[in-house]
Symmetry: C2
Subunit: 283 residues, 2 copies
C-alpha cells in the first residue's frame, strides 16, 4: 500500500492513502490535524482505500479545519457512497479538486512552494506530484552593511538588487549571500517507464519512482504499466536527480536486496522506501 | 475496528471487516481463499471499510470461487463506486444479500449449521449474527451392537430410533450415546442495551457483545447507541450464556482492566476480545 507523509515548513501533506494509512500515521505519532492537503495519484485501491477511514477518524478527532483533496475524477463518488451509507456527516469541509492525467498543472501554491502534477503512464488516469520550493531570497550579511539602512532597502537587497545608500553604491553580491537551495521532491507512482517525465523532474533533490518489478519480470511490468528497478534508476539517471527512492514492490520479492542492487547498478544513490522510513532533504 | 474470523467445520466466515482486516488475516496466516461468506453487521466504517481492499486482494490472489456477502442495504452501492472508479473487474462472482434490521431471519444454512440475524438497536440499521449448529445425531457404540446389522439401521439408530434386528429389540439408549453438543456463537455489535435479543441468544456457548464504554460514561453510551461493560454482562447473565466476550472499546480507555472488571462483577466468565486473540468452543 502506498502513502507518504510530506512535511515542508509549516505544511503537512499526504500523498496517497492506501488501506491502514491512518494506523501508520498513529504509529509514527503524526497528528491527523496537521494534514491540510491530500494528493491522490490514482484510484487503484492500494493508493486510496484508506481515505474513507482516515476522514472518519478526523471526524472522530473533532477536526474542524477544511481538508483539500486532489485526485483524479471519481473520488467524490466513492467518498459520497461511503459516507451516505454509513450516515456519516463530517463536521469539517472537504474540497475535492480533479487532477488531469493529460498535462502538468500547478494545483497548489503558497508563499514558499508549489505542487505540480506529473502525468504518468498507467492503466488508469494517474499523476505524480512535484513539490518544489520557490526561489528563495538572497541572505543579507548584517556585518557588511553600513548602519542606518532603511527597511525597504533590505527587501531590495534580498531580491538581489544593488542599492545606493547615502550616495554610496552597495553592490548586492558584496553584502548578501546567495539564496538557500530551493528543495524539490518528485513522487512518481504508479507508472510504466515513461521518459516524458524527465524534463519536469530534472535535477530534483529526491525522486520517488515506483519499482514494482525487477528486470526478470520486465514483460509483466510492461503488461501492467509498472516499472522495473532498472527503469526507475534509468529515469533517475537521465533526470540527474540527487537521490532516488524506490518502492511499491511486488509481493513476490521476499528479499528486496536484488531490487535495490539492480537499481544501484544504474543509479548508485538509491534507497528503499519501506514502511515507516523517513527521508530528509537538507536536514 | 471490528472483524472476526469464524471457523466451523469446513466453513470459514468473516464477521465484519474493518479497515486493515486483510493485514490481520495475513498476520494470522489465514488464507483468504477459505472465506466463503462475509457477514457485515452495519455500514459504519469501522465495520466494513476493509472490504474493498479485501475483495481486491482476493482478486490479486486469483480467487475464482463465489463470495457471498450479507449486509444491510447500501453495501452494493459502496462497492460499485469503489470498483467502478478503480476500474476493477473481479474475476470471481460476489453475491450480496440484504439483511433486514427489523426481524430475525435465517440467512444461511448448510447440513450442519445455520446463521440467523439478530436485530440490534443502533444508530443505523444493524444486525448481529447467531451461528448455531443443528442438532447432531446420536453416536453409535459399535461394541454394544450385534454383528451383521445392515447399514440402514445405523441411520435409524443415529436418529434415535429403537430397532428390531433378528427378532430382538435393540433399545436405542442401550447402544448409542447422546449427540454431541450443538455449539452456538452469538455476535452482537454495535448495539445499545437491548433486552429483546435475550430470547434469541439464550444459552449460547459464546456471546460477543460490544462494550464500548464503562458505567462512568453511561450517558455517552445511551446517546451513541452503544453499551457499557455492565450492560453487556447483564445481557450475558439474563441470557444465561456460557461465556461472554466483550470488545469494541472506546479509545479513551488506555487500560482495559476496569472495563473487564466492571463486566466480571455481573458476569464472571467474561473475556476481552482484543486483537489477534482466539476463542474456541469445545476444543
Amino acid at each position: 500500500m502506498t502513502s507518504q507523509y510530506v512535511k515542508v515548513e509549516k505544511e503537512a501533506f499526504l500523498i496517497d492513502c492506501g488501506e491502514a494509512t491512518q494506523f501508520q500515521l498513529l504509529r509514527n505519532n503524526i497528528s491527523l490535524h496537521k494534514i491540510s492537503r491530500i494528493f491522490i495519484s490514482h484510484l487503484h485501491g492500494d493508493h486510496f482505500y484508506g481515505l474513507p477511514g482516515l476522514l472518519s477518524t478526523m471526524q472522530m478527532n473533532k477536526r474542524t479545519d477544511d481538508l483539500h483533496i486532489h485526485a483524479p475524477r471519481g473520488l467524490d463518488e466513492v467518498l459520497l457512497a461511503n459516507f451516505k451509507n454509513s450516515q456519516t456527516v463530517l463536521n469539517y469541509r472537504v474540497f475535492i479538486y480533479e487532477t488531469s492525467p493529460n498535462f502538468p498543472e500547478i494545483i497548489y501554491e503558497n508563499d514558499t512552494l508549489y505542487v505540480e502534477t506529473i502525468p504518468l503512464k498507467h492503466r488508469v488516469p494517474c499523476t505524480g506530484f512535484l513539490i518544489k520550493e520557490k526561489p528563495k531570497m538572497r541572505r543579507i550579511e548584517p556585518d557588511k552593511l553600513p548602519a542606518g539602512i532603511p527597511f525597504e532597502m533590505f527587501k531590495q537587497l534580498k531580491a538581489g538588487e544593488d542599492i545606493v545608500f547615502e550616495g554610496e553604491l552597495l553592490k548586492n553580491e558584496e553584502v548578501t549571500l546567495p539564496p538557500k537551495h530551493s528543495r524539490s521532491y518528485a513522487f512518481c507512482s504508479d507508472t510504466a517507464y515513461f521518459e516524458d517525465i524527465i524534463p519536469q523532474i530534472e535535477g530534483c533533490d529526491l525522486l520517488y519512482h515506483e519499482s514494482t518489478f525487477t528486470e526478470a519480470h520486465k514483460e509483466r511490468a510492461k503488461e501492467t504499466y509498472h516499472s522495473t528497478a532498472k527503469q526507475a534508476a534509468t529515469i533517475a539517471q537521465k533526470a540527474a536527480v540527487d537521490r532516488l527512492l524506490i518502492g511499491h514492490f511486488s509481493a513476490r520479492y521476499k528479499s528486496l536486496d536484488p531490487v535495490l542492487e539492480e537499481a544501484k547498478e544504474v543509479f548508485p544513490n538509491t534507497y528503499l522506501a519501506t514502511e515507516n522510513v523517513k527521508f530528509c532533504i537538507d536536514c
